[in-house]
Symmetry: C2
Subunit: 98 residues, 2 copies
């Protein structure tokens, strides 16, 4: 995966509007911290939103979400891999909270 | 929410089997880090799995996942609130990674 392309895609698709430019200061607490999360999990989650948005049957491993469904519909598999890799590489402030 | 009850529920429902006893060393990288995640988001995610498992229509905000669906089916609304609060309160090592 290409970390720089991941950051570019994160910017291009305006992910920061909800998740914050640093992917850790989301605008609402009902939106997750992404910085430092496992790359594999992020890729899984984005794929599940994509399957949910594309009308996949309600079998295992889909997510239906109006916002994220619309966002990921624009992403190619390479975008998803690059975004997940870049987010996973980011430092996260969570440990500072305590 | 009751943090001690949240920890007790995390233990009782064997969440640690996949997510790790500290909720940050998951057994597979396709399972997320939970420690330090936003409480509201964790509550949302658990609720979405619960709606998905209960045969809710494929409208917005459901998650279909065989593992998590079976897990959350056992949880009461109070369990979900307590678990989310406890997980959110945990320190997370993510910042140490860089």
């Amino acid at each position: 995966a290409d970390l720089a392309a991941g950051k570019a895609a994160f910017d291009k698709y305006t992910c920061a509007s909800c998740h914050g430019a640093d992917a850790k200061t989301s605008v609402m607490a009902s939106y997750p911290v992404l910085a430092g999360q496992h790359e594999d999990y992020l890729r899984h989650a984005l794929g599940a939103y994509k399957r949910g948005a594309s009308g996949a049957p309600a079998t295992a491993n889909i997510r239906k979400n109006a916002i994220m469904g619309a966002m990921v519909a624009q992403l190619s598999p390479a975008d998803i891999a690059n975004i997940a890799a870049w987010l996973s590489s980011l430092p996260s402030p969570l440990a500072v909270r305590k």
